[in-house]
Amino acid sequence: MAPELEARYSELTAEGTLQVRRGEFRLAADQFEAALLIARELGDQLLMDRAICNLSTARLSLGMIQEAEKGLREILLKSSDPNIIFIASSNLASALRKQGRLQKALLYAKRALRACESIDNFAWKATCHNLIANIYMNMSYLDDAMAEYRFALTLSQKGGLGTSYPVDYIKENLGYCSLLKKRYHQGIATILEALQISLANGNTRCLVECYQDLCFAYMQLKELKRAEEYGEKALAIAAERDYKDILKNCYYLLGEVNLLMENEERSDFYFDKLQELYPHLPVLKQFLRTFDVSNILNLKNPF
C-alpha cells in the first residue's frame, strides 16, 4: 500500500508542478492538497513538508497570501533539508514581499540563497536571484534589481537552462525594470524575447505579464494603437484566468490609453470597471481622468 501511495504522491506533485509552470494555479493547488493528504496518511514528515511548500507556491500565485504562509515558519524551525529550507524560505520571502514587508522578505530570500548554495540546481539559484531582484524592484532600487536579474540570467546560461523556466520570468522582469528606467526600446526588446519563450513554454502567467508590460511601454512611447492591442490581449487572459492584479492594471492601462487616444467612451468604460472594484473611493475615476500617474507607478508592486 505504501509504495502505491508514494507513487501517487509523486504523480500528484509532478502534475502540480507542471500546472504551476502553465499558470494553472488552482489546478496545481488541488494536486498539492491531495498530495498533502497522502503524505499525512503515510505519516512521512519530509513528504508533508514538501507538499506544504508546494501548496504554498500555488497559493502565493493565487493571491492567497495568508494561507500561503501557513506552516512555513514551523518547517524552517525544524527542517535541515536544504531543498525544503530553500522552498520554505523563498515562499515566505514571496509572501512577505506581497504584503509590502520588503526588508523581512529580503532576509528570507537571502536565507533561501544560502540554502541554495549546497544544492546543484541552477534553476533554483536563478529563481532565488530573480526573487531578490523583484524585492529590489519593489523597493525602487532599480540598478540593484537589474544587476540581480542579469546575474540570474548568467546562472541560467551556466546551468544550460536555455529558454526553460524561469528564464521567461527573469527576462520579463528585466525588461520591465528597463521600462521603469525609461529605456523603453531596450525594455520592449527584452520583453518580446520573454513573450516568445513564455508562448513556447505555455507559461500563461508570464505571457499575460508580457502583454501588460508591452501595453505600458507603447503607451509611454505614445504608440497607442499597439498599446491598446497588447492591453486587450492581457485583459482577455487575466479575465479568463482570474489574475486579479493584472485585471486591475489592465483596466487602468486601457482607460489611460483610450483617454490618450481621445476615445473617452472606451476610457470611461475601463475606468468605470476599475472604479467598481473600489466603491469606497468614489473619486478614483475622476482622479485618473485628471492626472497622469503613469510615471509614479510600478505595476509589479503587489501591495
Binding site: L180, E264, V283, F287, T290, I296, L297, N298, P302
Partner: protein
C-alpha cells in the same frame, strides 16, 4: 465630464503627499503604518524616488479622503481658481443623473453665449 485637456498633468505625488501629511499633522511613521509600508520607503516616496502600485496610490487617496480639488490645490492661483475647485467639489457630490443635468445646462449656456456672440459679430459687420 472632464475633458482630456485637463488631464495631462503628471502627478508629483511625493511632494503632495508630504504637504498633505503635514497639513494633517501626521508623522512619517504614522502614515507609513497606515499605508502599510516602511517609513524609509515613505521618505523615498515623498522625495519622488519610490514608485507605487495602483493599490498603494488608491490607499493614499483613501487615507487622505482626497478629492481632485485637493490635488489641484498645489497649483492654486487666486480666488477664481478657488471658485472652480468649490464648483468641482460640489459637482462631485451630485448623483450621476444630476451631474448630467448640470452638464446639459452648461452646454445650453455655452450655446447661448455662442449665439449672442455670433449675433454681435453680424451686427458689427
Amino acid at each position: 465630464m472632464m475633458t482630456s485637456k485637463f488631464k495631462r498633468q503628471s502627478l508629483l505625488v511625493g511632494s503632495r503627499i508630504r504637504s498633505l501629511r503635514k497639513d494633517r499633522a501626521l508623522t512619517q511613521a504614522d502614515l507609513a503604518h497606515r499605508i502599510g509600508i516602511q517609513q524609509s520607503d515613505l521618505c523615498r516616496m515623498e522625495n519622488g524616488e519610490y514608485k507605487v502600485s495602483l493599490e498603494t496610490l488608491f490607499k493614499i487617496l483613501s487615507i487622505f479622503e482626497m478629492n481632485i480639488a485637493d490635488f489641484f490645490n498645489e497649483d492654486a492661483g487666486g480666488a477664481a481658481r478657488e471658485r472652480e475647485y468649490e464648483f468641482l467639489r460640489l459637482y462631485q457630490k451630485l448623483s450621476p443623473r444630476v451631474q448630467e443635468e448640470v452638464q446639459s445646462f452648461i452646454q445650453f449656456k455655452l450655446q447661448s453665449e455662442d449665439r449672442v456672440r455670433d449675433e454681435k459679430v453680424k451686427k458689427d459687420n
